[in-house]
């Protein structure tokens, strides 16, 4: 009989509580309107996509600080390429930026044995610099309607296309994380890299793979932002790293590796988005929103964070 871990379910309960709370207090303010709820989905999708990948990265005992910069650079590359080429090629180019950054990060971590924190801190700066110079700080508009519909602003009936991207990322991510060998190897690597190596797991390949994955996810997020805003600019994604990590940690993934939850990350992302949304609808001033958000975040993390596993003796 599987032992039930109450902590695993706290994040779901927290989400339902938050939803119920806002539904009750904001019933006249449009919180529960179809538009608003779907907006929350639209607004959280890029973060959700990145959060899925970051579950893998953190679970493997690594971190990717370059996420935000990759979002911006891939968005700009996609938009620029689309000016003269097909949308398909533009998207490929954008994804290529993410894959390349992830691969470079991965190589420095595995071949040169540098900590991913430092490597991705460096690539954060380099990629951000590239994003600024590639169009000289100019923003680039996009007018390919099918691109815009598929990647950000379209709807399939009442459901936003962004919802499909979020759902797809979560379903695929969860399947691989929980039901494929690779997922088991990722968690083992983060749990105890020495143990993993001793049992024959190719720890370096795992690390490389998760960093490439996170680069690709950031690129996809950049492409989705471009579709949603119908333009790209160098500030896209700048603030997202913190949101993504918060979502992942709230969702039950351990910050230092060894345990994770993809579905939890989705819930974490939705919690972040719902909080932002609800606090604005409450009519709080900007400063009040920031304080409330910080306080509620602290509460959420303290409820869902796994206890540290440093045992004595």
């Amino acid at each position: 009989m599987r032992a039930i871990e109450p902590r695993r379910y706290v994040v779901y309960v927290a989400f339902l509580l938050i939803l119920a709370f806002f539904a009750a207090t904001l019933s006249d303010d449009g919180f529960l309107s179809e538009d608003n709820l779907l907006n929350i989905v639209r607004q959280t999708t890029p973060v959700t996509v990145m959060a899925v990948a970051v579950v893998f990265v953190l679970s493997a005992g690594e971190i990717d600080l370059s996420l935000g910069s990759v979002v911006a650079l891939s968005a700009l590359v996609t938009a620029e390429v689309m000016k003269t080429q097909s949308a398909v090629l533009a998207v490929a180019a954008g994804l290529g930026v993410g894959l390349a950054t992830g691969a470079v990060n991965g190589l420095f971590v595995t071949l040169l044995r540098l900590p991913s924190f430092l490597v991705t801190l460096a690539s954060l700066g380099i990629v951000a610099g590239l994003a600024r110079t590639i169009t000289d700080l100019r923003s680039v508009a996009v007018d390919d309607q099918s691109f815009i519909d598929i990647f950000g602003s379209g709807d399939v009936g009442p459901i936003p296309s962004l919802a499909f991207w979020a759902l797809g990322a979560v379903v695929l991510g969860h399947f691989v994380f929980r039901h494929k060998r690779f997922g088991a190897h990722v968690v083992a690597t983060g749990d105890d890299a020495g143990a993993a190596r001793a049992t024959g797991i190719r720890v370096d390949r795992v690390r490389f793979a998760v960093l490439v994955l996170s680069g690709a996810a950031a690129a996809l997020a950049g492409i989705l932002y471009t579709g949603r805003l119908e333009a790209a600019t160098y500030t896209l994604g700048e603030q997202d790293l913190v949101t993504v990590i918060a979502a992942v940690v709230i969702g039950g993934t351990r910050l230092f590796g060894g345990e994770g939850s993809v579905v939890g990350a989705l819930i974490g992302s939705l919690i972040m988005g719902t909080l932002t949304n609800g606090l604005i609808l409450w009519g709080l001033s900007t400063s009040e929103q920031l304080i409330a958000q910080g306080g509620l975040l602290l509460l959420a993390i303290s409820l869902t964070l796994r206890e540290p596993r440093r045992e004595l003796a």
């Binding site: 303010d29 449009g30 919180f31 309107s33 538009d35 608003n36 907006n39 639209r42 607004q43 890029p46 600024r132 000289d136 700080l137 100019r138 923003s139 680039v140 508009a141 602003s153 932002y225 949603r228 805003l229 119908e230 333009a231 790209a232 600019t233 500030t235 896209l236 994604g237 700048e238 603030q239 932002t276 949304n277 604005i280 609808l281 009519g283 709080l284 001033s285 900007t286 400063s287 929103q289």
Partner: protein, 364 residues
């Protein structure tokens, strides 16, 4: 003989007046060599022209309208504008139901617009983060809500159809006043460094060019020795350093705005041990105001009347609700703030007292 004596005493007087220049020279207002116009060439209307009759006020009050404030950031400036907005809305019986700050993030601004629209505000007052990237974000909102824009117009929006009007500071006057202030500080002669915004942004471009036009057109004895374009405002300190290391004897410098480039240039001056070069920039900003209060390099800060901008936006919102024809492009006056009127400057522009550090330095 008398003439010679007169000349001698006159030049003596001039000499001592020159020394006073460093302290508090009266700033001459030169003739305006241009006027402010909107991003599409619209002529400027002063904010004072926006008024409502008592009947109109009553009509607005009767409507029990709501408003949302969608800002680009959360700072002294937006706080002051919001104060002007809220005071006027109180008078008009319009309730502010939501307030957001995008922190310069276009994606967040789009999310903010979507979110506040859930409350179906009658009016939206907003400063778009970026005219290109926010263009699509306002589309849906424009259909349902009266939008009043601060500072820039997102691409594709048409006045009358998509937004009521565009409000901003009197751009030409801002630049011109900066030139007048800097000229007075350096005794109407010398060399000047010109740090301008190297980007296609009509607000900063007009202000910068107004400065340049005035300093070259109205002050023949002043030479613009260095022109340096700064694309990324965060890089100002490095750019200034490069200039100041080579040109150690500039009489004065103009910087496109205070934060962060103005602060960066001041930091560069200090790093080079330069206490002589006078600095003039736009907007009130604590580090620069403090420097000015202490008698440092900063001699003048040209500020817009942010509170008045807020009032004008609020009244514009009412125009929209009343379907009253609004002027396309509205500008609020600029003011020159030196050490002598620093306190009044904060009151008039930002509707608040200067920060404690500044008050202390002023000896108050």
């Amino acid at each position: 003989m008398v003439g010679a004596l007169a000349l001698a005493s006159a030049s003596l007087a001039c000499g001592s007046a020159k020394q006073e220049t460093d302290a508090a020279a009266p700033i001459r207002s030169s003739k305006s060599l241009g006027t402010t116009h909107g991003p599409n060439g619209e002529p400027a209307t002063p904010t004072s022209a926006l008024t409502l009759t008592p009947g109109e006020v009553a009509k607005v009050r009767a409507g029990h309208y709501t408003a949302a404030l969608v800002w680009h950031e959360s700072a002294d400036f937006t706080t002051a504008v919001t104060a002007g907005v809220r005071d006027e809305f109180d008078r008009l019986g319009i309730e502010v139901v939501a307030e957001t700050s995008a922190n310069f993030d276009a994606a967040k601004q789009k999310a903010d617009i979507e979110t506040v629209e859930a409350k179906r505000p009658s009016v939206m007052l907003t400063l778009p983060v970026d005219p290109v990237v926010t263009a699509s974000a306002y589309k849906a909102a424009a259909r349902r809500t009266k939008i009043v824009l601060l500072s820039s117009v997102p691409q594709g929006m048409k006045q009358g159809r998509d937004y009521v009007d565009l409000v901003t500071d009197d751009l030409f006057q801002m630049g011109k006043r900066a030139a007048d202030a800097l000229a007075a500080a350096i005794g109407d002669e010398g060399t000047v460094g010109y740090f301008f915004h190297d980007a296609n942004h009509y607000v900063t471009n007009q202000r910068d060019q107004a400065f340049l036009k005035t300093i070259t057109g109205s002050y023949p004895k002043i030479r613009v020795a260095v022109k340096r374009g700064i694309a990324d405002p965060n890089e100002a300190q490095d750019e200034a350093n490069a200039v100041l290391v080579k040109d150690r004897d500039l009489s004065g410098v103009y910087v496109m705005f205070a934060q962060p480039p103005g602060e960066g240039v001041l930091a560069a001056l200090r790093a080079n041990g330069n206490t002589k070069t006078k600095l003039v920039t736009l907007d009130l900003d604590e580090p620069l105001a403090l420097d000015m209060a202490k008698g440092g390099n900063t001699v003048a800060l040209i500020a817009d009347k942010a509170y008045e901008l807020g009032r004008a936006m609020a009244v514009s919102g009412a125009y929209g609700l009343l379907d009253k024809d609004a002027p396309a492009f509205v500008v609020a006056p600029a003011m020159t703030i030196t050490r002598s009127n620093l306190v009044e400057g904060y009151h008039e522009s930002l509707h608040r007292d200067p920060p404690a550090s500044v008050m202390k330095a002023l000896g108050k």
